[in-house]
């Protein structure tokens, strides 16, 4: 069983609230071996040319048909695909494990861009619940608002919403960055384990409830703190990183980051692994 131990000396990343523990004991960590690189094949990836551009009208297509056609276009080497008339359909653009410029001219329904690894996506509309769930890498930019569970369980990448988002933004996130230009609803950062969330506007109640690790930055008012979410000092490193991130995200470049509130885990809910099953019941 993996145990958690606080490190004595803090690195720069650790001072920003990241990786403040090391794994000891039995662990599931695996490391990439360059010698075995030739044996690794990422199923569903293609060599694409970003200058090779095409358009796809999905008005009369179902989501599986549209997604298959996107895959087909990538297999032909198209690196820039513009999707016309998405009209709020669910599950568009899911499972793309490729470098790709994908542009949606309209809004998506639920579970848009779920389980992706690598694409750069711009959605010139709104997205419904659970946008970019399980994102591994890449960049997803939403020009308008987003629904609840925005960026649920993402592992990496940048997820940017220029408008406002619903409840449970970044729930269970394990890495990556979520940036929101407007407000966010209740339970933002609920049970997050790693990664960072930036909300320039206000947030609802129970911010960071039961967060295990990671960092949340809030520019506006906070409805209330959730269980084990505590404010922390905003360091110079934090401010530098926030400025760079907002610039790259094309959002809030002139925002005064020095007035943001930083929230981290109080870590009172840690150490479940050290408890016997009957003790866990009491802790919960």
């Amino acid at each position: 069983m993996a145990n958690l131990k606080a490190t004595e000396k803090k690195t720069k990343s650790q001072s920003m609230g990241m990786h403040s523990e090391v794994l000891t004991g039995r662990t599931q960590q695996k490391f990439f071996n360059p010698d075995e690189g030739e044996n690794l094949y990422y199923f569903g990836t293609y060599d694409v040319d970003f200058n090779k551009r095409t358009e796809l009208d999905v008005k009369e297509m179902t989501a599986p048909e549209a997604n298959k056609e996107i895959d087909n276009l990538m297999s032909q080497g198209f690196g820039t695909i513009v999707i016309k008339n998405p009209q709020g359909k669910h599950s568009l653009g899911v499972g793309i494990l490729n470098k790709l410029n994908l542009i949606f001219e309209g809004s998506l329904g639920y579970f848009g861009m779920g389980s992706c690894d690598g694409p750069t996506v711009r959605i010139n509309g709104r997205v419904g619940w659970s946008c970019a769930e399980n994102l591994m890498a890449g960049k997803v930019v939403i020009e308008k608002n987003a629904g609840s569970c925005f960026g649920a369980a993402i592992r990496g990448g940048d997820l940017i919403c220029k408008g406002s988002v619903g409840a449970r933004t970044g729930i269970d996130m394990k890495g990556g960055t979520i940036i929101v230009g407007g407000d966010a609803g209740a339970f933002t950062g609920f049970m997050m384990q790693r990664g960072r969330i930036i909300i320039l506007g206000d947030v609802g109640i129970n911010l960071g409830d039961s967060m295990y690790d990671g960092t949340i930055f809030i520019g506006g008012k906070i409805g209330s703190f959730g269980s084990d979410a505590v404010p922390s000092d905003l360091t110079d490193s934090d401010q530098d990183w926030l400025k760079r991130k907002l610039k790259v995200a094309e959002i809030g470049e002139k925002f005064d980051v020095s007035k943001m509130t930083k929230i981290v885990a109080g870590k009172k809910l840690w150490n479940y692994d050290n408890l016997e099953p009957h003790e866990k019941k009491g802790a919960i």
Binding site: S107, G109, G147, A167, A186, G204
Partner: protein
Amino acid sequence: MCGIAGLIHRGKSSNVGSELQGMLQALKHRGEDSTGYALYGDTDGKNFIMRFKVGENVGEGSSSIMEDVSVYDERKKIVDQYLLELDAKIVKEERVLPYSLRYEISYDKKDLLEFSQKIESIPGVEILSMGKSLEVIKDLGNAKMVCDRYGLDKLVGTHAIGHARMATESGVDIKSAHPFWGYPFSDVSVVHNGQLTNYWNNRRLLENKGMRFMSECDSELIAVYIAQKMREGASLEEGMKASLTGLDGVFTYFVATKDSLGMAKDTMAAKPLVLYESDDLVAMGSEEIAIRSVLPQEIDTYDPYDGEVKVWQI
């Protein structure tokens, strides 16, 4: 799961029957056990429209008990007799289906409690709606099936709310289908998506105050709860705000009256809602595709936040 949809035209009328049918049909994957419409049509406002049922749809999938049509005829006769005794004159009568009827009634009294109690004292009879504009139509099947069965696609009005139901906590029958009439208030209707966890406590409390429940569907509680608040003098919006703490569980619900439409979302924001708002139209639904059925062009929509209550006037 269930899906809800609603729309309100401000300053004009439209074919709300057809529009709501399109919205609910887009949500049919959220539940096809039953579908219900609460339509606010253009009327002269002189007579009451009473939609009522004298039996259940006992078709495939129904959890109701089969009854002979002659039983329905008997119940209808008693309804007609009671209306005479209540000094209510039937101006127009329509038997849409053997178990479902629509009456236009001339009735002078404003208090519908006595009226409703007398009519519903007949076993097997339930008033689905009573109002000068409201008509509640609900039956088994998806939105298109119910719309076709009752000929709703031509109905012109200002606003409407509807519900596509996946039965989870009560039977597949008309009495458990939404919308629920805000008994005994004229022109009040409710649709709900979610689960209420303090249903029985609230039900017992409200029954002790003289309110009636026709089903064991938790959603009916919202209609009765709001009606009771209004009975105590609260406005629609005040009643809805009180429900955020008075009702426990997860919910997004719509309430409509003769001239307004409101939405409320619980403090956990656990149930979805997408909203489009402009100067002349408000449209909302459990999913954006419902709104897209009436507004296919690119529009700005958003999710209301936790604990939010909004009310719009026609």
